[in-house]
Subunit: 288 residues, 4 copies
C-alpha cells in the first residue's frame, strides 16, 4: 500500500510497539526507535535528535504513562512526554494510541498534528479478532470440557460479539447471543447463532457452561450470577468498570476472569501489525 | 413471544402475505384475511366488516399498488386503498410495508397508527439472508463451474455483503470483498475474507468468475465491465437504478442478472415469517 | 504439476469432455479432439489418424454408449468403440470413465493400458462437492423457505454426506445426519452436526423440511415416507436403484426428486477439471 | 440411549475416570467407584466386594500401570491388576482402555469378556476433536501472533487432521494440508483447504508460522526443520516415536512442542463423556 519509503520514528511502548518497528522496517521504511531499549529488536537512538525530520512519529498505546511520562515499559529509563514532543517540529504528524487531554493540549501547544489511532474503527474491528482469540484461549485453559459441544452465552453483539460468537460456533460450541436490540439478535440468527433477550438474562443462564460478557455495563449482577450452574465459567471482556458484580461473584463462589487488553497480551506481533495498517491509513489521509 | 392471542387481519399481498396469515394462525392468533382469495390458504372475508375490532391490521409489502390501489395480486378483484382504510377505527394499529406518502396521508387523516415494517432494521437483516440465498441459487444455476473454488468478488459490505460473502466462502469459493471504507474491509478480513479497495475495482476484476454487486450506485461502468474475463457472470442485487451500466454490458456482451426482491421470490414462506416476527415487535412496542 | 507438454487425444463425450480438452490445452499440452464436433471448442480431427502417437487417449464418462458405440452425444455422427480403439497402438495409455467388461476386453485384445478414472477415489471425493452443490441448488429451487433455519436430514455419511452436510449447516440449516455406524455419527457430531440412528429413521422424520438421501439402499420406504410432514421435500442422490420407494411416494403425495449425475449437469467445466486432475495422476503413475 | 439403569463399577484411573463415574450416575445408573479416592467425587468402595454383580466394570485408560499394577493415580494406595480381576465372575463384561497382552491373558484366564474401548473408532473420532482443541490452545499460548491470518501447515489428513484443519481455518488461519495420498489432498481441497504433496514438504515449509504434525512417522527431519522460517512453531501430535527429529530441532534451535494424550489433559470431563458413550455402545452390543 505505501508506495514510498517513509522516515518513521517509533517511540516508547511495549512489545506491540517493538513489533511495529520491525514490521515497518520490513516494509522498506527508514525506521528509528527511541525508548524501546529492551524491545529486543533494532538499536535505539540515544536521543530524539533527528526526529523532527520524520514523516511520522508513532507514540505507544496508551501513549501516556503515569504523571505525564511517556508510556515506555521497555525503555532503559523514564522519559517526560513534554521532552519527547519538544523534539518535534510544528506541523509534524504524530500518531498516538488513546490520547488524553493532557497530550492533546501539549501537542496543540507545539503545533503538532496529533492523530489517535486507537480511535479508528478499523483498528477496533481487528482488535476484536485478537480479543476473541484471547477469550477462546482462556476458556480452553480454564474449562475441563471442550468448547465443542459446550453451551456458551455471549452477552452483547457489537464488534467483539460478532468476532467471538462465530468462532466459538465454528469450534463446535452451542452458542447463544444475548442482546438488547432486535436487529442485533436478528444479526446473530442470520449467522446461525441462537439469540435471547438481554432483559431476561437470568432466565436463560442456568444451562450454560461458559458466559462471556462484552457489554460495558453491569449485566451480571447477583441475580444472574446466582442463576449460573455449578462450575460455570464467566469471562468478562468489558472495559472498566466491567460487567460483573465481582463481590457477588466472590460471595457466590462463581469463577470470573476479567480479561482486559487481550490483543497486546496474547498477540503482540499481530497487534503491532494492526497498528501499522492503521498508521498507513492515517498517513495516506494526511497526504491528501 | 406473544403471550396473548390477538385478532389480526391480513389484507392483500402476494404469497408472503398468505404465508404470514398461516403462520399467525399457527401461533394461535385469531386471523382474518381479505383480498387474498387465491392465496391457497384460509377462507377470505367477503368484506372488511369487523376489521375495526382487530388488534393489528397488516397491509402487504409493498402496501400500495398502482393508482391508489391496494397491492393485492392474489385477490379476486381490485380494491381501493382508501376503502380498505375506511373500514378501520381511529387509533388502530396498521402495519404496512414500504409505506409511501399517499398512504401515510390517508392513514393520518383517519387517525390510524401506521407503522412501516419494511423500515425496521431487523427485517432488513433477515431479508439479507434470503437475498443471499437467492443470489447463490442464481449463481449455481447460471455458472458451468461450482462455487467451490470459484473466484468471487462481492462489491459492498453492508448488511447484504455480510450475509452473502461468508456463505459463498463456506461453500468453498475464494471470496474478495471490495469496499470503500477501511473498517468495512477490516470487517471482511476479520471474517477471513480477502478485501480490496473500491476505487481500484477495475484493476482486480480480470480474474473473477463471478461479481456480485450490493452497492446502490453505479460501480460497474464501462471500464469495470471491460475488465471482466470472458464468461464471467455479474449478479446485481442493488435496488433501482442498480449498480451496472446495462447498456455497456450489452455492448460488451457481459452477462448481467439484475435480481430484485429476491426474498419474496425464492422464499415466500420464510419472508412471511420474517414479517411476522417484525409485526410482533411492533405490536409489543405499541403496547408499552 | 505436469512439467512436460504431452500429446493428448480427447475422444467423444459431453460438455465435461469438451471442457477437459480446453483445460488441457490451457495447461500447454498438445490436444486433439475427436467426435466432439458440437463441443463448441477447438476444431475436431476428421479421423483418429495420428492418435497412436498420443501419450494418453481420454475416453468419456461413461466411455461406452449403447450397443458398443462410443458415448459421443456431441459428435457429428456415431462411432463404433472398436474402430476408435483400432486406431491405437499396443501399450498406449487409455483413460476412460466407468469402463465396462466389453471395453476392458476390447482394450486387452489390443494390448492397451486401460485405466478407469471414474474408479479413482480422488475423483469421487471431488465429484461429491459438485453433487453437494447440485443438491443445494435443487433444494433452493424447490423449497419456499430458505435453507437458513430449515431442518434438514442427511441420510448417510460417506463421501457425499460429508460434503453436503457441512455446506447445508454453513448456510444456516439445522442439519441432522442419520447413519448406521457409530463412527459415522461420531464424525458427524465432531463437525458440529446432530446425529441419529438409521434404524429409527421414521421416528425422527416428522419435523424435517428436507430429507436428502445418499445411501444406495431402500432407506425411505412406506413407513418413513408416511412419517414426513406435509410439504417436506425429498432429494434422492443415490444411484440406481435409488433409496426411495417411488410408488409409495406417489401414493402418499410426497415430493421426491431423484437427482443423478449432478456434477456433469450442474458444473460441466468443473467436472472436466476434476477429470483432468485425475488423468494427470494416472499419467504420472504410469511413468513410474 | 440406555433405557435401563445398570450397575456399573468404575475402577482406577485419572480425572477422566472420575468424570465418567459422575456422568454415569447422572444418567441414572447405580455406580460404584474403587481406587479413585482422590477423584473428588463420590465415595469409593473399600474393596471390590460386590463388583461381581456389576453389569459392567470399567477399567481406566490405559488400564495397566507399571509392573502389573492397576493404573490408579488417584487411588489412596496401589492395587494389583490380578487382585482387581479376581473379584469378578466369569462371563462378566470388563471395558478397559488400551489393553495389553498381559491384561488380555489375565482376563481370558478368568473367563471375563474384555473389551478395549480405546480401540473403538467412534472414540478415536471424538478424541480427535479434543486433541484438535488442545493443539489450538497450545498454538494460541505459544505464538505471538493470532491464528487469524497465520499460515499453518497440517501434516497428515487422517482423523486428527480432519478435526484440526477446518477448525484452524474457521479461526481465520490460512491452512495447507500436506498428505501423501491423492484422495487425502482431494478431501482437504473439498473442505476449502489448500493441499501439498508430502514428498516435497521441505519445499513448502519456509513460509509457515506453524506446522502441526499428525503423522506417526519421521516427517520433519533435518532438511524440513532447516527449511522453517525463524520463529516458526512446530507442534507434534504423533504418538511415539513422534514425527520430529528432536535432536536436529534442538541443534537448529527450532521450537518443537511434543503434545501427547491431549484429551485427558485439556478436557478430562469431555474425555470421560466420550468414554461413557463408547461404553454404552459396547454394553448395547454385548446384549444382542
Amino acid at each position: 500500500m505505501m508506495l514510498r519509503a517513509e522516515n518513521i520514528w517509533v517511540v516508547g511502548g511495549d512489545p506491540r510497539q517493538a513489533a511495529l518497528a520491525a514490521l515497518l522496517a520490513d516494509d522498506g521504511h527508514s525506521v528509528h526507535t527511541y525508548a524501546l531499549e529492551r524491545g529486543g529488536g533494532m538499536e535505539c537512538e540515544p536521543s530524539m535528535d533527528g526526529a523532527d525530520r520524520a514523516d511520522c512519529v508513532v507514540l505507544p498505546l496508551p501513549a501516556s504513562g503515569p504523571e505525564g511520562k511517556l508510556n515506555a515499559p521497555l525503555a532503559a529509563q523514564e522519559h517526560e512526554m513534554a521532552q519527547v514532543l519538544d523534539a518535534l517540529r510544528p506541523g509534524q504528524l504524530v500518531c498516538a494510541g488513546m490520547t488524553d487531554r493532557a497530550l492533546e493540549d501539549m501537542a496543540a501547544a507545539r503545533g503538532l498534528v496529533l492523530r489517535d489511532y486507537f480511535a479508528r474503527e478499523e483498528l477496533a474491528v481487528m482488535n476484536a479478532v485478537a480479543t476473541a482469540e484471547g477469550a477462546i484461549q482462556i476458556a480452553m485453559e480454564e474449562l475441563p470440557i471442550t468448547l465443542h459441544n459446550a453451551r456458551v452465552m455471549v452477552v452483547g453483539f457489537g464488534r467483539l460479539g460478532r468476532a467471538l460468537a462465530p468462532r466459538l460456533r465454528a469450534l463446535g460450541a452451542q452458542v447463544w447471543v444475548c442482546a438488547r436490540r432486535h436487529e442485533q439478535r436478528a444479526a446473530a440468527e442470520s449467522m446461525g447463532l441462537g439469540s435471547e433477550r438481554l432483559e431476561r438474562l437470568s432466565d436463560w443462564l442456568c444451562s450454560y457452561d461458559l458466559v462471556i460478557n462484552t457489554v460495558p455495563a453491569l449485566v451480571l449482577g447477583v441475580e444472574e450470577l446466582a442463576a449460573l450452574k455449578e462450575g460455570a465459567l464467566v469471562i468478562d471482556l468489558a472495559s472498566r468498570p466491567g460487567g460483573v458484580d465481582m463481590e457477588a461473584a466472590a460471595a457466590l463462589n462463581v469463577r470470573v476472569i476479567w480479561a482486559l487488553s487481550l490483543p497486546g497480551k496474547v498477540a503482540p506481533v499481530t497487534s503491532g501489525r494492526y497498528i501499522k495498517d492503521t498508521i498507513y491509513h492515517i498517513m495516506e489521509e494526511s497526504e491528501l
